[in-house]
């Protein structure tokens, strides 16, 4: 373990061509406790019918999933936390 937890940020992956400020979590592909690689697809979110794959911003352990499947969120909300390895 090294450094602070890193947020998986919805704003970082927000699609360019939509006006909506809200979205919904469709699928998680990892559970809490999984060691993830940087860039690995963690989950799928949907914003105004646009489906977006959310990559892990850092390699590490997925320590907390904040927004579960079917949860709604606004742009900038945190999906999950990664503890960098």
């Amino acid at each position: 373990m090294s450094g602070d937890r890193v947020a998986v940020d919805t704003a970082a992956v927000w699609p360019d061509d939509v006006e909506a400020e809200e979205g919904v979590v469709v699928n998680w592909f990892a559970r809490e406790g999984r060691a993830v690689n940087e860039g690995e697809t963690l989950c799928e979110i949907q914003v105004e019918k646009v489906s977006v794959d959310v990559p892990a911003p850092k390699a590490g352990e997925l320590v907390e999933i904040v927004l579960g499947e079917d949860d709604e969120f606004v742009k900038g909300d945190t999906l999950a936390w990664i503890q960098p390895s």
Binding site: V26, F29, R31, G33, R34, A35
Partner: protein
């Protein structure tokens, strides 16, 4: 499903199918995909999502709405040595291309005295539960499994979907790969709990003709496939609360059919419930019961089938929910045979 552990990457069924197709395409340049809306759109149920970006339009080909032509083209390409994966957008549309499917894809190897192989995968979306009415909601399992010459595959979860797809593409004979829309993990059609499971990143095959016992039990055998595997597991969970232990068998392939697993289970339980989203008459339920009656009559204490009644599938939500068997219908049937 409960087999998933924290360390494992999980996939939806659609992503598992795509991963298998992409892997085979990287290994063998003869593998290609064609179908309606499978390139830019990624398949209306996500079965080819992202493939066009990696492989381009030459190998991920959109086709006009002309099933006879493009399924026939698939048969020809297969006979010429390629390995086409052809998507029939809805199984319901098979009728316009029936000659290509049943008489050519299924029989050209036989009719040519073995001069040709037809290593083709016809993948197609099946099933209802989303109010798409009578011409877009059928499973038609029995229709495809009825005629000889084709293997028929029906995955119920992402792990099986990937392994069965690898096996289907590598098979030298025609395979019909029927995926249930409700299991694909789409944002606009959420799946039940169950089809999204841990999926290894490396390629692997699941052989055809091997059913899986999803849950063991001594009081009744529930044989099913596709979406209804999950409904049967829900029913079994509920029944366990009442002290009734149901064994749930996922057929995984209809042709070849794993009769051994069915007969072994019936030998243990003596009570057989067959659950099918296809029509009741002349279908999977009748076939499984006939197998049990022919080969295990002495073991049978009671049988019951749970299937779609012989009516066009209603558009109306409450009416469709009424005719499509749910977990409660399955639990009731299991209680009836006790």
């Amino acid at each position: 499903m409960s087999q998933a552990v924290a360390e494992e990457r999980e996939l939806t069924m659609s992503r598992a199918m795509v991963e298998a197709i992409a892997s085979e395409m990287r290994e063998d340049e003869e593998v290609f995909v064609m179908g309606e809306d499978i390139a830019d759109y990624g398949g209306i149920f996500g079965s080819t999502q992202g493939l066009r970006e990696e492989f381009g339009y030459d190998r991920i080909m959109d086709v006009p709405i002309a099933e006879t032509s493009f399924i026939g083209a698939g048969v020809g390409a297969a006979q010429a040595g390629m390995r086409p994966i052809v998507e029939l957008m809805f199984a319901d549309f098979f009728g316009v291309a029936m000659d290509q499917i049943y008489n050519n894809m299924a029989k050209n190897t036989y009719m040519s005295g073995g001069s040709f192989s037809v290593p083709m995968v016809l993948m197609t979306a099946v099933g209802g539960t989303y109010n798409d009415a009578a011409q877009h909601s059928q499973t038609l399992y029995g229709t495809f499994a009825h005629l000889p010459g084709m293997k028929v595959v029906v995955p119920s979860n992402a792990y099986d979907a990937k392994g069965l797809m690898h096996n289907a593409i590598r098979d030298d004979d025609p395979v019909v790969y029927m995926f249930h829309k409700r299991l694909m993990g789409l944002g606009w059609m959420p799946s039940p709990e169950g089809p999204k499971v841990g999926v290894p990143e490396e390629p692997y095959t699941i052989p055809f003709g091997e059913a899986e016992v999803k849950r063991e039990g001594a009081d009744a055998t529930v044989v099913t496939l596709g979406l209804h595997v999950h409904r049967a597991l829900d029913a079994a969970e509920e029944l366990a609360g009442d002290g009734i232990e149901a064994e749930v068998i996922d057929l995984r392939t209809l042709t070849p059919l794993d009769t051994d697993t069915i007969l072994e289970s019936v030998g243990k339980t003596g009570r057989l419930v067959v659950v099918d989203e296809d029509y009741r008459s002349f279908g999977v339920t009748s076939e499984i019961m006939a197998v049990a009656a022919e080969d295990a009559l002495a073991d049978l204490e009671a049988v019951k089938r749970v299937a779609m009644p012989d009516v066009p599938i209603p558009y109306s939500r409450p009416l469709e929910q009424e005719v499509n068997p749910d977990a409660e219908d399955i639990a009731t049937a299991v209680r009836d045979v006790q």
